[in-house]
Amino acid sequence: MGFDLLLQNVLNPPVLMFLLGLGAVLLKTELEVPQPLPKLFSLYLLVAIGLHGGYELSKSGINLDVLKVLALATLMAVVVPIYAFFVLRLKLDVYNAVAIAATYGSISAVTFITAGSFLNALGYKYGGYMVAAMTLMESPAIIIGLILLSFFVKRNNEGINWGEVLREAFLNPSVYILMGTLIIGFITGEKGWKAMEPLFGALFKGMLAFFLLDMGLVAGRRISEIKKVGIFLLTFAIALPVFNASVGILLANVFGLSKGDAFMFSVLCASASYIAVPAAMRLSVPEANPSLYVTMSLAITFPFNIAVGIPLYYFL
């Protein structure tokens, strides 16, 4: 049955499109989805889940369940980068440990979306507040990472510019767009969603498939870097997500989240950032090697989650 789920996950258009993109690189075709088209797709997906999440939230209202989920989300967003950091310090210098820990402490919206699409196909739903939870989980890891850094390294020439860091963390474009469209979706409710649905609802799965084609290309281009990552980090990039997902599921069950919400929460815990956090780390921790944290997140963890992780966490 587990295998059935795996197959059902892989054999649907978005995941297959990801594999198609991956294959395009491995076979050295010259296929590319030039910038800014990927930006268009990712902006579209963020606006779409924001508006839809807000609309769902306007139907369900903000109740105790919602607050419970948000509290759990904040908790995991703070705790994951801390334990990830200490595990990473076993083998790495502080800079790289911070950058990778922050990467895994944050989330990947596309993983979340793909999981949502998998869940819907099985007939389950998740609450609109999960989008709020996702938004909440995006930034704290950056802050935690930099606090760890300032704790373990005394930089002489120049301290961390906390103003810039907080802005990078809480006002990075994806957090801002998600937050903003969530509010817009919430305010404009049923009527607003009806006007937006043809673009941001009906086309959603197709656009996801399109975007995953590009994700496949991007991940594929990084695959040649995996060997430089080393066996320790390779293992880390698969084991940590599974561990995080397990913790997430456990917490979700203890606090009585619904099946759908629990699954989505575990996916959030398991996913790693490949846009917002790397950008912030590149700026604030230039000593860390982006080839490590971007490759791990994009070329190992993301494909793993998309293909194997999602059915696995569902099965858990």
């Binding site: 990712s42 281009r221 950008a279 230039p286 971007v294």
Partner: protein
């Protein structure tokens, strides 16, 4: 027509705004920027085709008096040391209008 120095900089796009701040502080009369430039150097390939803007360069040049050029060089060196990139000086003749 006036002999001037051209200062060219290739730097990680993430740090473009810092490089421009340095130019402004040094008192240049203007500058020109080309975003989204690719390249290869010590820090590997900047293929510019990522979702992340992390592997992307920007190119900028400014034309200025030698004294200003030297000020820029001095200020930009520590930045480039930390984050990588290239800085070049050459001679040009500025056509005034």
């Amino acid at each position: 027509m006036k002999s001037m120095k051209k200062v060219e900089v290739v730097v990680d796009s993430v740090y473009l705004s810092r490089a421009l701040e340095i130019l402004e502080r040094s008192g240049v009369s203007g500058y020109t920027v080309i975003r989204d430039v690719l390249g290869k150097g010590e820090r590997g390939l900047m293929s510019g085709d990522e979702l992340t803007d992390v592997f992307k360069n920007s190119y900028l040049f400014t034309v200025c008096e030698e004294s200003i050029a030297l000020k820029i060089v001095e200020e930009i060196r520590p930045l480039l040391k930390k984050v990588g990139g290239v800085c070049l000086l050459s001679d040009v003749v500025w056509v005034p209008h």
